[in-house]
């Protein structure tokens, strides 16, 4: 009885709001096709998979791939590299768009503001291949601008891209240059949503711009910052590995090799799909745990959370 009335309620709701549900449809289809359907294939992490026999035709072997994975020091290293690179990304890459948004907010000249915004948004739309080309050229020991500038100060040219210690700064820096501008959009939107009467009363009280930023703007956009942070932590294991593949060398594997590039080399290049799937699955589990922790902490301390 009750379920029937509930169903009719849903039916009524659907009839009334059907346009909104139609708009939702493409996203649902995208999720099913690209995220849920591939999950079926995850079982090969527990199978002795042959591409020719297919997912169903391959025999189960339990946790053998995982056992081998954890005894493989290249995987362990790739795992720590992922955490470190992501940590650096979080430390330097996460505040960058916030700072940028705050800076843009302080610019009063409209044309100047628009031009500056366009310039910092642009790198986001450049393909990683081009970005890698620019980076390789910029850091080349013979023709690169970086070494040319160093040369003016009498510093010998450095072959940056083969030095393990330089890989992470270059990679993280490139990421900031590419994404900080675009990432600032969401914070600018949040700033635009701050109630102007707060600023007006602050002006009446004699606050300067610096005080207004600290006392009004930042607290007002804090929920947005926290949500973005949780999402970001969920993606900690997903460093942009195309760029790493394009920039790394065997010489820099020690600091550059992350789980995704390891999966790529083992899986696609060496054809060990089952083993690579095990590594990828483990990656996903870690990311899931991280996002759960971040969400719980955020809920407890700031009452802001994803769910």
């Amino acid at each position: 009885m009750q379920s029937e009335s509930r169903l009719s309620k849903i039916g009524y709701h659907l009839r009334r709001e059907w346009q909104i549900y139609v708009m939702l449809l493409p996203t649902i289809i995208w999720f099913i096709v690209f995220l849920y359907k591939p999950m079926y294939g995850l079982q090969i992490a527990f199978k002795d998979y042959s591409i020719f026999r297919g997912v169903d035709g391959s025999p189960w072997i339990g946790f053998e791939h995982f056992e081998f994975l954890f005894s493989n020091d290249q995987f362990i290293r790739a795992f720590w590299n992922t955490i470190i690179i992501s940590g650096l990304n979080l430390l330097f890459g996460f505040p960058a768009p916030i700072i940028l948004a705050l800076l843009f907010n302080e610019i009063l000249h409209a044309t100047y503001k628009k031009t500056a915004q366009t310039i910092v948004y642009l790198p986001h739309f450049i393909s990683s291949v081009i970005i890698a080309g620019i980076v390789i050229t910029a850091f080349s020991p013979s023709v690169g601008i970086v070494n040319t500038v160093l040369g003016w100060f009498g510093i010998d040219s450095i072959y940056f891209l083969t030095k393990p210690e330089w890989f992470r700064p270059i990679f993280v820096g490139t990421g900031i240059w590419q994404e900080a501008g675009f990432g600032s959009i969401v914070f600018l939107a949040a700033i635009a949503g701050v109630n102007p009467s707060l600023y007006e009363s602050a002006v009446v009280d004699g606050a300067n711009r610096w005080q207004m930023m600290w006392k009004i703007t930042i607290p007002s956009i804090l929920p947005t910052i926290l949500i973005m942070l949780i999402i970001r932590i969920g993606n900690v294991m997903e460093v942009s590995f195309e760029l790493i593949i394009l920039l790394y060398q065997p010489a820099t594997y020690s600091t550059a090799d992350v789980v995704n590039t390891f999966v790529y080399r083992q899986g696609i290049q060496s054809g060990q799909y089952d083993f690579a799937a095990a590594a990828g699955l483990f990656n996903a589990v870690v990311a899931f745990v991280l996002v759960m922790i971040a969400n719980t902490l955020s809920k407890r301390y700031s009452r802001t959370s994803l769910w």
Partner: protein, 520 residues
């Protein structure tokens, strides 16, 4: 489809009106042409083009039409892994074309052939392919080398002709400028490279010379042969080698350690291109045309062609030099053309016309087919002179001949065919021929490892361990050369790591496969 029938009809009329072909002695099917799908991932041209003159001619002769369905194609030539990647993607897509042609196809078909992805060819050859049969009867060692663990052949290989591949090259005009002799030993070679670095042979007043450079960075590692090390056992980089019937890996040998130690010193002194790991395939073109490069290790025919630069650079002369004697006095040239490449083509397991397909493969081993595969189309790219195929002058003048041939559909390494060295002699210039004579005289070549075919258990062991071992080897190798680590200090740890990562297990399965295949 209609358009297709129309072109077929026109082609058929053309065939009928050409008396020499009227009897159709090479025709495989009569009437309606047979269409077969093909995956083709050849190193330089990762597609199969239906409008290649060679394909058009082959259609006319055999009435078999190949339709390109290549997936996952890429042009990466660095480690050859791009080729295997494309084959894996093809198999993962679930559809295997009628014909699969690729570089690096051997291990792939020998692994998945026995599972049913590709057809075994032995019986088909016996019954339907007289030319292939005759070839394999004459060269039984080739059949042995390409067979899978179950004893069947799953692909028809590309068979290079001629012996020589890469050689040492040096700016002989720079030697003259500086009053130096051709280096005969590794010590002299080092002195010459140092002189190139410090004595400004290009005369521009800046020490911008790059003494040793290479298009592929493993050609730097090749130099460990000068300290009695090895860099590869075959013409594929980083490959295993056979020493007295025992499998070994060159990167786990004493000579290699010594060689890397010295190469690190050379690198540090600037005798080696500082950007050798990232400069890439344009290194030779750039450094020679800019009058900067001094010496390299590269192919005879294409490298000798750079002597054309003498019109722009006063006195430019880039000549082959004999391999310098190693520290123990041995002179070897590690690289050579091997008689069988792991490249070629196979018949997909779902092919509905296996007999016609093997006949088509056989066509390329007929006299006419072989010429087509080597020289292009008669009357268009070459003419017959006294029973020999001679390239037309305008074709020779059109730039590097091998590149021109890829563009018309000849010399495809993803096709099973028998190369005719006559093709290369014709566009090897005097410098190449002189170099070949020099290498012939010295007899510097060494035997090569032709590879093994694993059974399923061996394959599993190899797959499991080899990828990580190889990554580790290359990582340490680059680090040592670049000075990010010290080979002497780290060597024991390195060997222990290789052991821990399973090198001896890999060698063990390779040994058992080797013994089975070559009769221990």
């Amino acid at each position: 489809m209609r358009k297709h029938l129309l072109t077929t009809a026109i082609a058929a009329t053309l065939v009928a009106s050409t008396p020499a072909l009227a009897d159709g002695h090479l025709e495989i099917v009569s009437g309606e042409p047979l269409e077969l799908t093909i995956q083709m991932n050849h190193a330089r041209y990762p597609v199969y083009k239906e409008d290649w003159p060679v394909e058009q001619k082959a259609r006319e002769l055999t009435n078999v039409h190949l339709i390109d369905v290549t997936v996952g194609a890429n042009m990466r030539t660095d480690e050859n892994s791009g080729k295997t990647e494309a084959l894996n993607l093809m198999l993962a897509s679930g559809e295997i074309p009628d014909i699969v042609g690729s570089s690096r196809i051997k291990d792939f078909v020998n692994q998945y052939g026995p599972e049913g992805a590709f057809l075994p060819l032995n019986d088909l050859i016996d019954e339907h392919a007289p030319n292939l049969k005759a070839f394999f009867e004459e060269r039984p060692e080739i059949a042995a080398a390409i067979s899978a663990a179950d004893g069947n052949m799953y692909y028809i290989p590309y068979l290079p002709d001629g012996k020589y591949g890469r050689a040492y090259w040096i700016r002989t005009d720079w030697l003259n400028t500086l009053g130096l002799d051709m280096p005969e030993t590794v010590e002299e070679y080092e002195e010459v490279l140092r002189a190139f670095k410090t004595q400004d042979p290009n005369g521009n007043g800046i020490a911008d010379e790059v003494p040793y450079f290479a298009r592929q960075w493993p050609e730097l590692i090749r130099l460990v042969t000068l300290w009695d090390g090895r860099s590869s056992g075959s013409d594929t980089y980083h490959d295993f080698m056979v020493v007295d019937g025992k499998l070994a890996h060159p990167y786990a040998g004493e000579g290699y350690r010594e060689g890397i130690k010295n190469l690190a010193r050379w690198y540090d002194e600037g005798l080696v291109d500082a950007e050798i790991f990232t400069r890439g395939s344009s290194a030779r073109d750039f450094l020679l045309s800019e009058n900067l490069g001094g010496s390299t290790h590269d192919w005879f025919a294409s490298t000798s062609g750079y002597n054309r630069l003498s019109s722009d650079i006063e006195g430019f002369e880039f000549k082959a030099m004999a391999p310098p004697a190693s520290v123990s006095g041995k002179r070897i040239e590690e690289h050579r053309r091997i008689p069988i490449k792991p490249d070629g083509w196979a018949i997909g397991g779902t092919n509905k016309h296996p007999v016609e397909t093997i006949k088509y493969f056989d066509f390329w081993f007929t006299e006419e087919g072989r010429r087509l595969a080597n020289f292009g189309v008669e009357g268009m790219h070459y003419d017959m002179v006294d029973g020999k195929a001679i390239f037309k002058q305008e074709f020779l003048d059109a730039g590097p001949v091998n590149r021109s041939l890829y563009q018309v559909g000849s010399q495809l390494q993803g096709r099973g065919y028998y190369q005719d060295y006559g093709y290369e002699i014709q566009w090897s210039n005097e410098f190449a021929l002189e170099g070949i004579a020099l290498y012939d005289e010295g007899d510097y070549l060494i035997d090569q490892f032709l590879g093994v075919a694993f059974n399923a258990d061996e394959q599993r062991v190899y797959d499991r361990y080899w990828g990580s071992i190889r990554d580790y080897m290359l990582e340490r190798q680059q680090a040592w050369v670049l000075g990010n680590g010290d080979v002497e200090e780290e060597w024991d740890d390195y060997m222990a790591q290789l052991e821990k990562k399973g090198l001896s297990q890999v060698l063990e399965v390779m040994q058992s496969a080797y013994d089975r295949q070559y009769g221990g």
